[in-house]
Symmetry: C2
Subunit: 198 residues, 2 copies
Amino acid sequence: MGSTKRRDAGRPRGAPVIDAVMAATLDELGTHGLAALSVERIAAAAEVNKTSIYRRWPTREALVAGALEYVLVDFESAQEDTGSLRGDLLVLARAIADFLATPAGLALARAAFAESSSAELTALAGRQFARGTAEPVGGLVARALERGEWDRRTPPEVPLSMLVGALLHRTLLEHQPVSASWLSRVVDVLAAGLAVRP
Amino acid sequence: MGSTKRRDAGRPRGAPVIDAVMAATLDELGTHGLAALSVERIAAAAEVNKTSIYRRWPTREALVAGALEYVLVDFESAQEDTGSLRGDLLVLARAIADFLATPAGLALARAAFAESSSAELTALAGRQFARGTAEPVGGLVARALERGEWDRRTPPEVPLSMLVGALLHRTLLEHQPVSASWLSRVVDVLAAGLAVRP
């Protein structure tokens, strides 16, 4: 299972307020999106004054950038060696699907697809999301190559786009749940499609 | 190649103004997105008064809904029987990629992924997009089944999510061009993954 860890270690004093504001900002991003974001609602949800927010994050952009950077997309536990490419893909896919179902995951995904008027934030969200999903793929590919399950002609970014893209399409566009059977079929197609071809 | 046709047939008088406003609204949606949309900019781009826009489309929502419905997502010409599943997938994928590169396609995709504060418009964009991409898949699947190239256990919505999702991931999240070689690899994986498995 993937998890969204908060960076608690080594936090300075005042961290509970930061935690509350960052969590509220991610909730707001996930439900209302980047352009309709309201600092008023964030302050109310975090139970702080708007002025305390503006003291730390002088602009809306700084607040959102802070929140997006605060999300530690961590699929380390999804790097399990299950003994087969199919199994490894399934663990990773489930972790990404679970992450997309959290407020932070939804916030990152929505921000990454947001309008280009906030190009920098969109790029930041995209980088955060891409880094988190691309990281565990290295090990998965190396194991699959060693097992002879991966055609060397297929670069890792191709199935990564297909897997993450399918999950985004399913959840954000079709608004359908990522069921075990749907996920299993996606992974079937991927694993068979990546196999060494004559 | 897919194309975005404007519904010109049978348009009432005043159609040039409608065309200009709808085109400007789609441009605005593609570049600034749903939440940051400016009727002022649309009026300027379409060279009409804001009041003429509000006369026909009393609200921002009505204007956007009109523009989204105006896009006729038409991949009819992408339903070509090339003689193989791989070929058919390549034609469809190229058509969708080309559509996503147009202002109307970008507008639909961005609106479909937009924040839930405009849930109805988001749903409308999603439906328009999904209908357009799902339509040509029926024929493609039927031909592949007949040729024995498609494992019956895989429902069509699985590769559709993988193909459309990969294109969205590539263009809107990674901001990478859909090159012929990238597309060819995606289709290789899909066709091989969909093949009848023992």
